[in-house]
């Protein structure tokens, strides 16, 4: 009895809320990197719009995009751009190529000890270091000392990001020490004179952030460089929809792009797009 009363009450509230005209649930599925962020957005959004339920599930970018093609999710979250084959499938079934909305940016910073004279490396040099081909700092313009590698556990999103974007999909060197959490990496590098590690920029305290050399220019992992895309080790985090957002989906996406939504991005450790 109580339950029906409650549900009818919520239905009433849902009807009363103008944005949630078609009361119901909004499903968001995809990238594991984005789950925490979107979950946080969903919580904030549902606090403001009690009539709408936002369901967030992970599984990976590919899973999210194929769910979009199957029509089993409203929004797909993806940490990479949609491939042409995926667009083809979407067109075949829904005669649309989908709508792409960048909602946040993700960047990875490499750290070294503060006493290390090296200030900038190219992506190629980083690749050599993390594959175990370059083992001495003097090969990249540092002192003659062996490089001590710090990495993240293979369950981490940053681990995959570096693997895909720096190592070109190859494996990390076996002697890369894997630590639980970016804070542990920062702490280790702060104490290890010859160490190098990576993680989100927000964490870098007590260590030196490496600039990335590209041609003759060097880019620091600042919010500006990440936003403009100049910093090479950053990527967009996307929402994909079948059609132009409307109704609840539009309300949710508008919220994520609002100053309030973008503040959440910074809090979670990513970079805002706006």
């Amino acid at each position: 009895m109580k339950k029906t009363l409650l549900s009818s009450l919520t239905a009433l509230v849902a009807l009363a809320t103008p944005l949630a005209a078609q009361a119901g649930t909004l499903t968001v599925k995809g990238s594991d990197t984005m789950v925490i962020l979107v979950q946080r957005w969903a919580e904030e959004f549902m606090k403001k719009n009690p009539g709408t339920k936002v369901q967030v599930t992970g599984g990976g970018s590919g899973t999210g995009l194929s769910a979009l093609q199957n029509g089993t999710t409203d929004i797909a979250m993806s940490s990479r751009e949609m491939k042409e084959a995926e667009q083809e499938k979407l067109r075949a079934r829904f005669s649309t190529t989908g709508v792409e909305i960048p909602v946040a940016k993700d960047g990875v910073t490499f750290y070294v000890n503060e006493t290390n004279p090296v200030t900038a490396l190219t992506v190629e040099q980083l690749k050599g270091i993390y594959l175990g081909d370059t083992t001495n700092w003097k090969d990249v313009g540092g002192p003659a000392a062996n490089i001590v590698l710090y990495s993240r556990e293979n369950s981490s999103g940053t681990y995959s990001f570096v693997k895909d974007n720096v190592l070109g999909g190859d494996d990390y060197a076996a002697n890369a020490q894997t630590l639980p959490g970016t804070a542990a990496v920062v702490n280790a590098v702060a104490k290890e004179k010859n160490g190098i590690g990576y993680g989100g920029a927000a964490y870098a305290k007590g260590v030196k952030e490496l600039k990335i050399k590209k041609g003759s220019e060097e880019f620091a992992p600042t919010a500006d460089n990440v936003k403009s895309g100049k910093y090479p080790l950053s990527r967009n985090l996307f929402f994909y929809l079948r059609n132009k957002p409307s109704g609840e989906a539009k309300a949710f996406i508008d919220f994520t792009l609002s100053p309030e939504g973008q503040a959440v991005v910074t809090k979670v450790g990513y970079f805002p797009v706006k």
């Binding site: 001590v148 556990e153 293979n154 369950s155 681990y159 494996d171 002697n175 020490q177």
Partner: protein
Amino acid sequence: MQEQSLASPVPVPTLSAAARRRQLKEKVIAGLVTAVAFTGIAALILILIFVAKEALGLFTDPHARQEASLSKMFLPQVTRPGRPATFVWQPVSSVPKVSMIPLFIGTLKTTLVSMFVAVPLGVFGALFAAEFAPRRLREVLKPTIELLAGIPSVVLGFFALMVMASFVQDLFGLESRLNAVVAGLGLALAIVPVIFTVSEDALTAVPRSYREASLALGATPWETAWKVVLPAAAPGILAACVLGFGRAIGETMIVLMASGNAAIVSARLGDSVRSLSATIAAEMGEVVVGSPHYSLLFFIGVELFAFTFVLNMFATSWTRKVMKRLTGGAG
């Protein structure tokens, strides 16, 4: 006492109601105790069945069998073209590499270091406490060391990570700050109390008459402790070491925090290591349920269980042999 009413001098051929009730009560209590004992065993068996069942996917699923065959787990594989075959643990990769050898080596190294430190410390500490320490000191010593057993392993791991790592690195001039030595020393902190407590109990349980006889024959207190009491307590001390070993091999948090977790195949103790238990803890969080990687982690669990089981079996049979020799010699 209720028994007083039963101690009546008149012989009663049939049981009184009170006696029958008492007998029933006794039976119920015995049944309960048995049930509790069997619950423990049942829980153990159920855990083993569950873990083994999850690991079974490795052998039944064709995809998993191809990705993580026994030869891939235990034999060297060519991982990069043009390089010699090696043992590599990289389960999250376009071509997963699932060699268990680096993990075995990692567990072996940390366990050996910890036993190498903790056994002498624990046993000699216990010998001192049981044989030589003045009573006042002993009353302080024992609870203090036992208190060490109450420190959560996260705290010990944190201590090893923050304090011991830098100290050990400076002391030995090691290249990597987190390595088998640091993890082993951290582990030793956790198992010294175990070995100390059980050894101390075994030593104090040695009958006074042994000591008196030895001293009466003119042996010094040291000779008595070393040649009489210690051998007499050998089975108990071995049990203490086995308990400590079991804890060291399965201990996760300290190793996860202080070992660096790099799956390297090398004989040097100064290298970073990745242990079996830490691998489960680190990778279980994000693994896809039912995937080969998932089954693989459960398979590691089965291996850990098998290790401790076999070790316990050997230790028990050895203890029995020693007991026989000791009592046989005495009789």
